[in-house]
Symmetry: none
Subunit: 216 residues, 2 copies
DNA sequence: TGAAAAATCGGGTAGGTACCGGATTTACCT
DNA sequence: AGGTAAATCCGGTACCTACCCGATTTTTCA
């Protein structure tokens, strides 16, 4: 089963380079080449590509918006970004748009082929410098990592109070909810802050989110 | 500059295979081979590897715990997971532990090499089936999806003030930082709260995190 | 150019926060 | 039985917040 491929890049040089690279591959068939995003989108239904190799810097429509459109029009079609941009912003925006791969133009040609083949079977190829960004994002999204950690010696009652504090409730409201004096709530809060080395509700909110006690 | 490499895998066959594969590469030097995680960890300081290729299914200590130890002992040493496991659980646990690469044993030998070279320069190589899992996680972590959305009509100055507010600064501190009166800060805050329909700093913190203005 | 939006500053108030002091009861552990 | 920790309560205070009022200047843009 050959992979039906569409190329979208406004540089004729790039397209012919890709053509040369891909022509030798028996499992890849180029079904269309476009220099403008809108032309490519208009031909989507007719050409039914499995994979679209998409530049980001296009003259009529950004590759990001074009990718969003491709995924809207033909959900099953995978998009691989091929671009000179290696910055965080474009990368994450392409992921949001639904891209299945991100390859800088400086990458080795085989890497684009790997990305195309991965995209064709529903997988994702990320160039190492980009994968690094995504992993970094994942790790700072510490709902995963830190949530597994202990609660730094907070008692059950303190955690309960913390949950309400971080949720935005006042001492009075929490006292009513838990059936205790607002002064006791304040006392619990003081102990929590001392234990955690924090000094404001704001810090408590962020702590609670990191620990998965509440949702952002 | 050659990459100092350590192999940790309890199968002699795998180690000899890797040795054969890597011996031909001029930029890679194998400085140690181990079948047990504890032996590898004990030799870390002496061998000072740049990259450790780590199996997950080890007899004495899981590759996940071993990776955590490697990163604790030698922060600069990168770890590439080489394993038969392709399931979500092991993959994410290895990322949490600090791995810079994840390659299934069924992958082509060149992919391990790519991963090793990427890890050596601080980047991350993820096999496409694994990258797919991470991207999926990223997309369901919709804090991002929403972040890309509009800012609900907040002006530049208001967003700036919001960032400091959510960071825990008082009106006075923000005023000093931005060189404006604390009263002006309070006014900006009032406008922000009115526009967003919120009534407390706590809500602002959560909003700022959802929008990616600050980190939790 | 003239209206609209943004950014700035100020006064005032009711209530909340952050932190200090001291105190009691209950429970659990050795 | 005696000690330690948790959970509860109370009084007080300096500061901060959330919200109200009004005002000026600068920027933006139709």
């Amino acid at each position: 089963m050959t992979i039906r491929l569409m190329l979208v890049d406004d540089h004729e040089v790039v397209r012919s380079g890709l053509r040369m690279l891909l022509e030798g591959e028996p499992d890849v068939e180029i079904v269309g080449e476009f220099g403008l995003a809108k032309e490519a989108l208009a031909s989507l239904e007719r050409l039914k590509p499995d994979v679209v190799v998409m530049d980001i810097g296009l003259p009529d429509l950004s590759g990001i918006d074009a990718t969003t459109e491709v995924k809207r029009l033909r959900e099953g079609t995978a998009v691989v970004a091929l671009t000179i941009h290696e910055d965080e912003e474009y990368f994450f925006k392409m992921l949001d748009a639904g891209a299945s791969g991100y390859v800088p133009k400086r990458a080795a040609p085989e890497e684009l082929l790997t990305a195309i083949r991965a995209a064709a079977v529903g997988e994702v190829y990320l160039y190492p410098s980009m994968a690094k960004l995504l992993v970094k994002d994942y790790l700072t999204q510490e709902s995963h990592a830190e949530a597994r950690g202990g609660m730094d010696g907070l008692t059950d009652r303190e955690q309960e109070v913390l949950a309400h504090l971080a949720d935005g409730a006042t001492n009075l409201e929490i006292g009513e909810t838990l059936g205790i004096s607002p002064k006791t709530v304040a006392r619990h809060r003081e102990n929590i802050m001392r234990k955690l080395g924090m000094h404001s509700r704001t810090e408590l909110v962020k702590y609670a989110i990191r620990k998965g006690i509440i949702q952002a």
